[in-house]
Amino acid sequence: MAQQQRQTVERTRTMSDAMVEAIATEMRENEEVFYMGEDVADYGGIFDSTEGLLEEFGRDRIMDVPISETSYIGAAVGAAQEGMRPIAELMFVDFFGVAMDQIYNQMAKNTYMSGGAVNVPMVLTAAVGGTYNDAAQHSQTLYGTFAHVPGMKVVVPSTAYDAKGLMHNAIRDDDPVAYMFHKRLMGIGWLPAPDGPKTAVPETEYTIPFGSADVKREGDDVTVVTLGLHVHRALDAAERLAEEGIDVEVIDLRSLVPLDEETIRESVDKTGRLVAVDEDYQSFGVTGEVITRVVEDDPGSVEAVERVAIPDIPIPYARPMENEVVPDSEDIQEAIRATEP
């Protein structure tokens, strides 16, 4: 991350500021970029995803839309196929079900099904994640669901620095990109973020490539592969285990599609132990995929494997139960310890 920059950047931003900065820059440079969603105009996005954009760009380009996800996400697909660069926001990723066909069958497949004759250069932004007791219809990440169907790139930033570079890249990408931002990381006043997502952010524009995982912490003993909020929970776990003499490497995937297998394998070659962590349902999802990529490549490369994810149940409302199912630093520590010889 920041160490790749030649000049030292002092300016810090929240993740939402960083996202918005990238969107604003792209909108200034390209008239064909516009943003559609519920409460994205005057409200500035329920999770601050469009804060301040209405003032600069007006209602034609920062569009509040009817609560009709099928129609406006589908319209974004259509506008993208016309060559525009729409960004459509799902207020909560959980609402994707309402517009599933437009996402799964149109946005994700039209490029391939047209034999490359058309393409869909749109970004679907969506707030993801739990930890604030919003229950089963408002707390999911659905990382695996989005990454499962071929045809859309899937991006999950964990810091302000990454959020900005990934957003620039997402808008410029000629393919559809699902950009999934975790509510808990945005830096919203009423949903306090952990330490970590607020980082130094260069004022200038820059792009971060997809399929390039970032080693957020180097370590020799165990590899933790994760994304989103759980990057910070894994870093916390790593700090605590450092006191016990366990040296943890934390890899932030940053994108699920494409998936940076190389960085994961290199790390596991070094540590020989793998813990996959995410905030999605355990079965048929990200953790299973990460482990499989390592094991199918070289079954001998890994001595111990653990995974930490949401058990296969909807996310319950009451705090003791939600805390039970959403992995925390202690769950990650336990899994890491379990890989110790």
Binding site: V98, A318, P320
Partner: protein, 360 residues
């Protein structure tokens, strides 16, 4: 005190008795007091600065103060066996439908003895005893209400399905498709649109072509009525006809009711998108005050109104106290309730057949 059948109220004929009016009043006051008290309880531990994940009531909270007339005016025509589905703002509807107030409150506080054992929360209240259910996904409670109507029709029963939704939900496919399905089969369903002018920060004129949501009925060849005043008696009048039509097998109706949003969309909503004048206008148009005035003009004295209010207050207080006394769920309770049948289904034995032809 008159208790006649036909009275002239607010310029239209109504067949509501004073006794019924008092019962409306009690339910409306209960719903209002409930929201005001929940607001207080919710804020406890979340301030200063407002942290949604702190405090004694978890999660988001959408309160319905100012929308009581729609819920009460409709639900007074319903029986326990009639099904009601509500959206993310459900408390007033639940109260009017007769949902167990204590267990509902315990659910909102995330307690073990809540309606859903603390698994659902305030947007996801289920009380099968009075056929009440919710969904937090906009308009997605509507198709299941049609399903209740369909069931009544198939079983040749005279119960009805009633779907509540906000005016922001009238452009959602789940609603529009349900109108068609219900209409094609003349199902016993009533669709109630609560028009509080706002869908979070989006005013109706920005997101809907027609400012009269009941016109959605036109394209589906069913009656649509807009109740232009936030008046429980007017709502009741419209609902009596619509529910009666549904019960008697004459098909669905859409009713839109003008209500008012006296609070933010959710607790913690800064409402910076909303003018002071609009907020003030919504607070000034109070259906409870309106009904109190009607009751007074029917000779009900202030003392009686105060008694009703006190009764409502103590009922709410009792529910909140009870709820706060209830145990919190154990973390492990999270794993319960996934399945009705054990994971392998209704059987755990393989059938015992020799299938011919397997070897060639």
């Amino acid at each position: 005190m008159s208790d006649s059948n036909q009275q002239r109220l607010g310029g239209f004929m109504t067949s509501v008795s004073t006794t019924q009016m008092k019962s409306f009043y009690e339910d409306m006051v209960t719903a209002r007091v409930y929201e005001e008290r929940l607001q207080e309880e919710y804020m406890e531990g979340k301030t200063p600065g407002f942290d949604i994940s702190a405090g004694q009531i978890p999660g988001e909270l959408h309160l319905a103060a100012g929308q009581e007339a729609a819920a009460v005016g409709v639900c007074h025509h319903l029986r326990d066996e009639d099904t009601v589905t509500a959206p993310h703002r459900p408390h007033h509807i639940a109260i009017a439908k007769g949902v167990d107030l204590k267990r509902m409150t315990a659910e909102i506080f995330g307690r073990e003895t809540g309606l859903s054992s603390g698994k659902g929360g305030h947007m996801h209240l289920f009380d099968p005893d009075v056929n009440f259910a919710c969904s937090g996904i906009i308009a997605e409670g509507v198709p299941p209400a049609v399903g209740a109507g369909l069931t009544a029709q198939k079983r040749n029963e005279d119960s009805v399905g009633v779907a509540f939704l906000g005016e922001g939900a009238i452009s959602q496919g789940a609603f529009l498709e349900s109108l068609n399905f219900a209409s094609v089969h003349d199902m016993p369903v009533v669709f109630i649109i609560e028009d509080n002018d706002w869908a979070i920060s989006m005013p109706k004129e920005r997101v809907a072509d027609s400012q009269d949501g009941s016109r959605r009925a036109d394209g589906f060849d069913m009656p649509g009525i807009r109740v232009d005043q936030d008046d429980v008696l007017a709502v009741s009048e419209a609902a009596r006809e619509a529910v009666g039509r549904a019960r008697d097998g004459n098909g669905p109706t859409v009713i839109e009711v003008q209500v008012h949003r006296r609070m933010g969309h959710f607790m913690g909503d800064p409402e910076t998108y909303r003018s002071e004048a609009d907020q003030e206008a919504h607070r000034r148009r109070d259906s409870i005050e309106r009904l109190a005035a009607d009751l007074r003009s029917h000779g009900v004295d202030d003392e009686t109104l105060a008694e009703i209010r006190e009764r409502a207050e103590s009922r709410v207080e009792e529910a909140i106290e009870w709820a706060k006394d209830q145990p919190k769920p154990d973390p492990e309770d999270a794993y319960d309730d996934m399945w009705v049948n054990p994971p392998s289904g209704v059987t755990d034995t393989e059938p015992n057949f020799d299938l011919a032809g397997g070897d060639d």
